[in-house]
């Protein structure tokens, strides 16, 4: 009686402790919590399912860059789609410097050195931050670039996503680079709501993404980053080196996806899901078939 109690507890504790996050028989594909990320995650997942014998589990809706990074470091996910610029500034905490290839290389080598993670080849589009205004305002004021827009900024109310406000490559740097002076503190809202808020005149200046599906649909104009403030944001799959070692066929699958998605194609897929409310899985399946990537 005296011995049984404590040993039961130890057994229980050991049992709990051994529920470690590893999952040797499946691949877990993650994504962040916005439409484009789901689409890319779904794309990777479907490709792996179609071209390998591996079982794929989807773990989408990870609430942001930090959480996705933690999840892949802990081995809870094996792959997720990231952007080179985000990796550089938000995770590696380095300064943004222009050229796409250099940024890709820098991120890849640092990820391999520090995290045991590696990058697949870029998927083909650059989803940089897009500073948007309404088309009618752009035409009326004859504003095409951010430098031109600066003079009108005191008249405008701005809106940004939460991460943009906090990231070193986000709001603070933008305002400093272009001398923007917004009338009030910007409103912070969910990325998915920015475009509509802009259209409905709740805000006049939105910090969205270049491949937002609603940009053409709602007649929004993306102001040119003529001072090259934003680093390139090429979409790349981030993958655990251990996963690649254990399942080299994944490298091949990711290689097949290299450069397959243009800016416009991404925008169209985003619109299909955001604007037309179609199912993500269907949209991705269609795309893969059209590109003859799916069997």
């Amino acid at each position: 009686m005296n011995r049984r109690g404590p040993s039961l507890i130890v057994l229980l504790a050991v049992g709990l402790v051994s529920c470690s996050p590893s999952h040797p028989d499946r691949i877990v594909v993650g994504s962040k919590n916005f439409t484009e990320s789901f689409i890319l995650g779904e794309l990777i997942a479907q490709q792996i399912e179609a071209h390998t014998s591996l079982k794929v589990e989807r773990r989408f809706y990870l609430a942001g860059t930090y959480i996705s990074q933690q999840a892949i470091l802990a081995g809870r996910i094996d792959i997720y789609p990231e952007y080179t610029g985000t990796a550089l500034t938000a995770i590696l905490k380095e300064g943004a410097h222009g050229d796409s290839a250099a940024v890709h290389q820098r991120v890849k080598s640092e990820y391999e050195r520090r995290f045991g993670l590696t990058l697949g080849p870029a998927l083909g589009f650059n989803d940089t931050f897009a500073m948007e205004i309404r088309g009618e305002d752009a035409r009326r004021l004859n504003v095409r670039t951010l430098t031109q827009a600066a003079q009108f900024s005191p008249l405008w109310r701005a809106g940004f996503g939460y991460e943009f406000m906090e990231r070193p490559d986000g709001y603070r740097g933008l305002v400093a680079t272009y001398g923007l002076h917004f009338a009030e503190q910007p409103r912070i809202m969910d990325l998915g709501l920015l475009a509509r808020a802009l259209k409905n005149r709740q805000i006049d200046f939105a910090g969205g993404n270049a491949t937002d599906g609603l940009i053409p649909a709602l007649d929004l104009v993306v102001l040119q980053d003529d001072r090259h403030y934003f680093p390139p944001y090429e979409a790349v799959p981030v993958i655990r080196e251990q996963t690649v070692r254990e399942h080299p066929e994944i490298a091949r699958v990711l290689g097949d996806l290299a450069n397959e998605i243009s800016d416009e194609e991404m925008q169209r897929m985003n619109y299909a899901v955001d604007g037309q409310h179609r199912d993500t899985q269907d949209v991705v399946r269609e795309f893969l078939r059209a590109k003859k990537l799916a069997p």
Binding site: M1, V17, E57, Y66, I67, Q69, Q70
Partner: protein, 210 residues
């Protein structure tokens, strides 16, 4: 029921998340016992230390969970991985009930039995392992039970900093404004807490000295 369907449809992920949740709770409870029980024994034998030790544990309890995670972020090694932070935070929260109950349990041992034991020539260690701990084990377990129940609840917040667990469903459901998903995380977490409560409670009753 919709929630059940959702769980069944996503059972692989559900099991993953539940496993992660248990992993967080398991490690933190284990660490809290390894640190807390000896500390409780120490302050039971040296009552002058009891105030500072119990007081410190109390202060930690007063820090809101999410804030504690935030404090740990800049710490090297710990702050680099959210599961490490989560486990440390959960451990710190589990310490107070475990230390306090160990203290109470050991202080509650019949002083006459201890005096007789000492007079008979039992060493301090023999007294501890043969008399004090067996008599205090039920009360100590009660502290462990409280700690586990607190941890199961707190671990749901750990998902907010990326440590995984059932909280991930809850936060996702909130973001998607989808009740099924919220409940798919909240209900199992509540069930886990109840199971722990009953299970350890049963053990407590069986080990209670006559």
């Amino acid at each position: 029921m919709n929630v059940l369907q959702f769980i069944v449809q996503n059972r692989a992920q559900f099991f993953d998340l539940t496993g992660e949740h248990l992993w967080l709770v398991g490690w933190s409870t284990l660490l809290a016992m390894v640190v807390g029980i000896p500390l409780g024994i120490l302050i039971a034998h040296r009552p002058r230390l009891s105030n500072p030790v119990l007081g410190s544990a109390n202060i930690v309890q007063a820090i809101p969970g999410l804030a504690l995670f935030g404090f740990l972020l800049p710490v090297p090694w710990l702050g680099a991985r959210s599961d490490r932070m989560a486990i440390l935070a959960l451990t710190l929260y589990a310490l107070l009930p475990i230390i306090r109950n160990t203290y109470t349990g050991i202080r509650g041992v019949d002083p006459a039995a201890l005096e007789a034991g000492r007079g008979m020539g039992l060493t301090d260690l023999q007294l501890l392992f043969q008399v004090e701990l067996p008599l205090a084990v039920s009360v100590i377990l009660s502290g462990v039970r409280i700690a586990i129940v607190i941890s199961v609840g707190l671990a749901t917040i750990a998902a907010a900093i990326g440590a995984g667990g059932l909280g991930e469903f809850i936060f996702r459901g909130l973001a998607m404004v989808d009740n099924r998903v919220i409940l798919a995380g909240a209900i199992p977490a509540a069930i886990l807490a109840l199971l722990a409560d009953f299970g350890v409670g049963w053990l407590e009753r069986r080990l209670r000295p006559r």
